[in-house]
């Protein structure tokens, strides 16, 4: 698994762990994001058990594991955090931030760590990493009924979970979107099918368009940066959703 420094500020930096060539081909490729501060780190959507060995090996290359004080579990899917008991075995002091609606469901991954769960209220919350503030942004029904993204106002990075995800073919997996129009084909079907609610999408767009974003970071596929962030938001705004409503 490759680990890339995405952006670096005076007090913290973002890493993305992506393009795991050693993974079993039957599991979807995922991006994990590590926000590394001076004394603390946040790991966003650490991934499933199948990719744990590669993720922990990569994370351990750039930080001491005891620095990991926070995990974001954006929603309940197995590719998000089925590795929970493995990570909590290594970082028992960490807090798992998750949507309140999924508390008892995510507990199926490791009930013995439920006292480390921090349930996020529907309206979202702030998180301090050192002196830096981060925001858990509500993204309910995109696609999960309890869903959060993470925004870093200082470095202008937005972790967007499954929004902006693309199912890229082998051999065409750039870390950043290089040609937005050509990239659309890999996002189109995913968003039409996985995202169920245009009303939820519009509410989320109204919130997110107010944020200053340089890097828009989905959990699958390539990262949008610069002008491509707005291109994506505009494209998503006009997309019909819920394609499987028969």
């Amino acid at each position: 698994m490759k680990i890339h420094k995405l952006v670096e500020g005076p007090e913290h930096c973002w890493y993305v762990l992506a393009r795991d060539n050693e993974r079993t081909q039957s599991v979807i490729d995922t991006n994990e994001y590590l926000i590394l501060g001076q004394d603390e780190a946040i790991l966003c959507d650490p991934g499933g058990t199948e990719i744990f060995p590669q993720v922990v090996s990569a994370v351990a290359r750039v930080t001491s594991l005891d620095k990991i004080k926070h995990f974001l579990c954006s929603h309940q899917d197995p590719d998000i955090f089925s590795s929970l008991p493995l990570w909590m075995g290594l970082c028992p002091q960490a807090t798992i931030h998750l949507p309140w609606v999924w508390k008892t469901f995510v507990a199926h991954y490791g009930h013995e760590y439920v006292d480390r769960f921090h349930c996020l209220p529907d309206e979202g919350e702030r998180l301090m990493l050192g002196h830096r503030e981060f925001l858990f942004v509500p993204a309910h029904y995109l696609h999960s009924s309890g869903n959060f993204h993470l925004y870093d106002p200082q470095l202008k990075v937005y972790f967007s979970g499954d929004v902006g995800a693309a199912l890229l073919p082998d051999g065409e997996q750039p870390l950043f979107v290089e040609d937005f129009d050509a990239h659309v084909q890999y996002m189109d079907g995913f968003h039409r099918r996985w995202m169920p609610s245009e009303r939820a999408r519009d509410a989320w767009l109204a919130r997110v368009r107010k944020l200053d974003i340089d890097y828009f970071c989905p959990q699958h596929g390539s990262i949008f940066k610069g002008a491509d962030v707005k291109r994506f938001l505009d494209w998503f705004a006009s997309l019909p959703l819920g394609s499987a409503i028969l």
Binding site: E22, T49, F52, P53, Q54, V56, S57, A60, R61, S64, L65, D66, S83, P85, L86, G89, L90
Partner: protein
């Protein structure tokens, strides 16, 4: 993972066989009741038929009690085997992480966590092994109880010769008892086999690095 899954299945099978046998034992209890009714009808109260009733009832109770203990043991076996399945999964993932490479600064923490997982796994395996031994002892008890069924059948034949009444029903009881005896022995053997299988999986798991 295949070994722990096989171990879990063995433990589950042991519990299932025990439950099925408990249901069959209800049939034996009914035989005792039937004999009791016959004793009243034939005016044999206090006689040989009463002895048969008491014997069937005693064996049925002994089987029920032993199966009850076996069921308790099976619950622990199930619980432990599920934990072993989980811990074995964790151990495999930690081992794969180790193989993928852990940076020097994190080696100690990683090694400790990996070690704790292995210790927990080993402790649950030991407990499972103790429970399997207990299940083995209970199966020995069941075997001893089963050995007491043929003498009852012989006793019934003697009584049939003595009272010369209701012979069909009583000989039917002999046939039912014989069937139950065969079933009991078959089930015990099956449970012994499952127990041996579980023990073999434990031995293999202990040898895994």
């Amino acid at each position: 993972m295949r070994r722990t899954t096989a171990l879990y299945r063995s433990c589950m099978n042991l519990a299932t066989e025990g439950s099925l046998l408990a249901l069959e034992n209800e049939g034996m209890k009914r035989l005792g009741l039937n004999a009791q009714v016959m004793a009243v009808h034939t005016g044999q109260s206090g006689g040989s038929l009463e002895v048969i009733v008491a014997e069937i009832s005693r064996l049925s109770t002994a089987i029920r009690e032993t199966l009850g203990e076996l069921a308790t043991s099976a619950l622990v076996l199930n619980d432990k085997s599920v934990r072993i399945l989980h811990l074995s999964h964790l151990r495999t993932s930690y081992a794969a992480g180790w193989k993928a490479g852990i940076a020097e600064a994190n080696l100690e923490r990683y090694h400790k966590t990996y070690g704790r997982t292995r210790e927990r796994l080993s402790s649950h395996l030991s407990e499972l092994e103790r429970q399997l031994l207990q299940a083995g002892r209970l199966l020995d008890d069941l075997t001893r109880i089963a050995q007491q069924i043929p003498p009852i059948s012989s006793l019934i034949r003697i009584v049939v010769a003595e009272i010369r009444m209701k012979t069909e029903e009583l000989l039917g009881t002999v046939a039912d008892l014989t069937n139950f005896h065969q079933l009991l022995e078959g089930k015990i053997e099956r449970m012994r086999e499952v127990r041996r299988h579980a023990q073999a999986r434990i031995d293999e798991l202990r040898e895994e690095k």
